[in-house]
């Protein structure tokens, strides 16, 4: 009697730990492979997150990153994206605080609708010419808006 109860407790503990492992794992698997609208094979996908303090950031900004935003030096580094000529490029545009915009003159891309926090705006184009091309934010987003740049380098 006593031992069966204890065994039940161990089973429940195992269940709790199992769930605690499965939840993040499930999230990861869903996010990376099952989610609809995921990367089409043969395209190069980059995530660009806009931040009013840091400009463009390559990759997602997580909630805990905010803690380190204070500590890092104010100098921002512009992201550089490398692709080869002929690549199908998909830019996943996100925002970590306010509404941002996106423009890349060389490829005729102007997102004027705005990139609102929580939304994802996809930009798809073919890198059909070589060189270094600037992209910027085209919706006023704060003090460093005019310096919110990044570059796309297309090589042969």
């Amino acid at each position: 009697m006593y031992f069966t109860k204890i065994r039940k407790d161990y089973f429940l503990l195992f269940l709790i730990i199992l769930f605690m492992v499965l939840i993040p794992l499930g999230i990861r698997i869903y996010d990376q492979s099952l989610k609809p609208g995921n990367l089409v094979p043969g395209t190069k996908e980059f995530t660009l997150t806009g931040s009013a303090d840091k400009g463009w950031i390559l990759g997602e900004v997580k909630a805990y990153d905010i803690l380190f935003f204070f500590r890092k030096n104010k100098k921002k580094t512009d992201p550089i994206i490398y692709v080869s000529k002929g690549d199908q490029v998909v830019l996943k545009l996100r925002s970590s605080d306010v509404t941002h915009g996106f423009s890349m003159k060389a490829f005729g891309i102007y997102i004027t609708k705005g990139i609102d926090p929580g939304q994802t705006v996809y930009v798809k184009f073919t890198a059909d010419k070589t060189g270094t091309f600037m992209f910027a934010c085209n919706v006023y987003c704060g003090d460093i808006h005019h310096m919110m740049h990044g570059s796309l380098i297309v090589t042969e």
Binding site: K5, I6, K8, D9, K35, P36, A63, P117
Partner: protein, 649 residues
């Protein structure tokens, strides 16, 4: 006085309370054309309060000083958006444009058109809030301004009715014959539903509720650490501080008292560690320091000097001082949860039973005092059986159930404050002498110490402060409270000092003074201390309803966030139910001030009438009791009117 005369007087006063605001509404006012230009900046509008007359034509221009801001006017079909240099108006004829599928080049959205100003007529009177619709930073949900179209008849009604309710209750106390009616007989839910009793007696009952809740909170912690940094796109913020807070204040506490403590997942790991069990009971045949159990660690008992809720009061005030940061930054919520988890685990190694929940949990204090008014209670059915039962399994533990983790002896427990509704006593009682009873609102009257009185007053003050900071149009207060972003240290210190002195000195001081006068009026039937404590009961329903009125708009306005966050729980750009990009559309927002007014007035009535019940035994004479109630009623009236001014005026 005869019945007829009393009835006549009440009718007359009620008519007076109706006629005065109506006559103010009938004063003719001149109609004019008003040019109003509103500038938005993070996180307020300037001017933030616009006052016009009914019938005025308003020509409104809207611009932004920094980032993209929105302008949604409650009750009027106007939605604007401003970027630096340009402003746009939403074309309401184009309803829900088809969102373009991913992976395409998105150009200008067609449902916004550029404008310089909009023209509309202020056709309905009252208070209308305008709010930001474009996420513009941390405090975006609290970026509001007010359009007041005079005459604000609803507000005038509320004020005059609040005065009338106070008068009405005092009048009833004085004149109404109080029948010695039989005590309300509560229904024992366990007797009515035997299947429920059977279910509750199963060892896994509580765990079955904690487990899903534990996993949900685990997800919240994960999300508040690694999810979206934007508060209203993070499930932890949206579900905890919008949904949970409202459900806790408006449903769980008034109906179930401490029922949240029954399902709370945060102290659960500590309890499992302390018991070395999850659902089963570890019973030892020989008592160890009063209990038939051994726990992990040092097994100390909480020091006697700290066996009150002062620490909870202070911790709650400390938490609330950073409330604006806590409820807008996911990372702050993560830190709060992790600290609570850590502290409970640590304390479980030093003390036995739920000391954190009783003496430290910041929300535990008001859960205790407010659950005095709750409509259910766990009590013993027959006190004599408890007296005769020598083992007292409910208190010291039995083979079927743990000793009361809240250290209560249900045989003489007469109030809900420290009952965590964990249902252990129902399991451990060998005589089946414990039931869950229903009861009328506001049944426990016994406030035992100044710590509890302070808790009640702190809760009321914090409700007022939060209403002013979060729902009010004053940007400078928001900036002061939002210190980590605005970096305005001195305004924050002023804000901090004001909040603490209001909560610890001014409001309690005034109340104690009024209660003293009250005792003098009633010809000193009891000591000042006893009457003061009892009278503070008035503020429990008022505070509870003030919190409901405060947290209801958050749901009505932001329910869209709740829906969209379900589709994208971690802010990773998912769309599980195709609802991730639900458009911001508040639910009947122009009715909010009216609804808040009704809630506050019902709180005022319940507070005064239950307060009268609370001092009935101390002051049996009706005329003395009426006189004793005058000053506390004025205090309650003052508090309610401060809130009415913020919500409706």
């Amino acid at each position: 006085m005869t019945r007829k005369k009393i009835f006549f007087l009440l009718l007359l006063s009620f008519e007076l309370a109706i006629v005065i605001p109506l006559s103010i509404a009938l004063i003719p006012s001149s109609k004019s054309i008003r040019h109003i230009s509103i500038t938005a900046r993070k996180f307020n509008y300037s001017p933030s309060k616009v006052i016009v007359n009914k019938g005025d034509t308003i020509i409104l221009s809207f611009s932004s000083n920094d980032v993209t801001h929105g302008f949604y006017l409650d009750g009027y079909p106007i939605e604007l958006m401003a970027r630096k240099g340009t402003s746009f108006k939403k074309n309401l004829s184009v309803q829900n444009p088809v969102p373009s599928a991913g992976h395409t080049l998105e150009l200008l959205d067609t449902n916004w058109s550029q404008i310089s100003s909009v023209k509309f007529t202020a056709s309905s009177s009252g208070k209308f809030v305008f709010r930001c619709t474009k996420i513009c930073g941390n405090l975006h949900p609290f970026m509001t301004g007010e359009l007041i179209v005079k005459p604000n008849t609803a507000y005038h009604f509320a004020v005059s009715l609040s005065v009338w309710i106070t008068f009405f209750v005092l009048f009833l106390i004085f004149y109404k014959k109080e029948p010695s009616k039989p005590k309300f007989k509560g229904i024992n839910i366990l007797q009515t539903f035997p299947w429920l009793a059977k279910l509750i007696k199963r060892r896994g009952f509580q765990f079955a509720f904690i487990l899903p809740n534990f996993l949900i909170f685990y997800l919240f912690i994960l999300s508040s650490l690694a999810g979206s940094p934007v508060g209203n796109r993070n499930i932890a913020i949206v579900f905890v501080w919008i949904l949970w807070w409202f459900v806790l204040k408006a449903i769980l506490v008034p109906f179930g008292g401490r029922i949240w403590c029954f399902v709370c997942p945060l102290p659960a790991p500590a309890e499992w560690l302390s018991r070395k069990r999850i659902t089963s009971v570890k019973f030892i045949p020989k008592k160890f320091r009063g209990l038939y159990h051994r726990f992990t660690g040092l097994e100390r008992d909480w020091p006697k000097k700290l066996q009150n809720i002062w620490l909870q009061n202070i911790l709650f005030l400390a938490m609330i001082s950073f409330g604006m940061i806590l409820i807008t930054r996911p990372i702050a919520t993560a830190i709060l949860f992790l600290v609570i988890l850590g502290v409970t685990l640590l304390l479980s190694l030093i003390f036995r039973q739920r000391v954190f929940c009783r003496y430290l949990c910041p929300v535990g204090g008001f859960l205790g005092t407010y659950s005095m008014a709750a409509m259910t209670e766990v009590r013993s059915i027959d006190k004599d059986i408890c007296k005769k039962h020598k083992t007292k399994s409910c208190f010291s533990g039995g083979e079927e159930g743990w000793a009361c983790p809240w250290n209560q002896y249900i045989g003489n427990m007469d109030r809900n404050n420290d009952c965590g509704l964990c249902t252990e006593c129902i399991k451990s009682c060998p005589k089946d002498n414990i039931g869950i009873f229903t009861r009328p609102f506001g049944s426990d009257k016994n406030i035992k110490g100044y710590d509890e009185m302070y808790n009640i007053i702190i809760m009321l003050v914090v409700a007022i402060v939060f209403s002013a900071v979060m729902l009010g149009p004053w940007g400078f207060i928001k900036d002061a409270a939002n210190v980590t972003e605005s970096h305005e240290i001195i305004p924050f210190i002023i804000f901090f000092v004001i909040v603490w002195s209001l909560a610890l000195v001014i409001f309690p001081g005034l109340f104690v003074l009024f209660a003293k006068i009250s005792n003098y009026f009633a010809k000193k039937p009891v000591s000042d201390r006893r009457l003061t404590l009892r009278l503070s009961y008035i503020l429990i329903p008022i505070g509870m309803f003030a919190w409901i009125a405060f947290s209801l708009p958050a749901i009505m306005i932001n329910y869209g966030y709740i829906i969209s966050i379900l589709s994208d729980p971690l802010g990773l750009g998912w769309d599980l139910f195709n609802l991730a990009n639900v458009h911001f559309k508040p639910f009947i927002p122009d009715w909010i001030p009216f609804i808040q007014g009704v809630i506050l007035l019902s709180g005022l009535y319940l507070g005064l009438s239950r307060g009268n019940d609370a001092i009935k035994q101390m002051i049996p004479g009706q005329s003395e009791r009426c006189r004793a109630m005058i000053f506390p009623s004025l205090y309650a009236l003052l508090c309610v009117n401060i809130l009415l001014k913020i919500f409706m005026g």
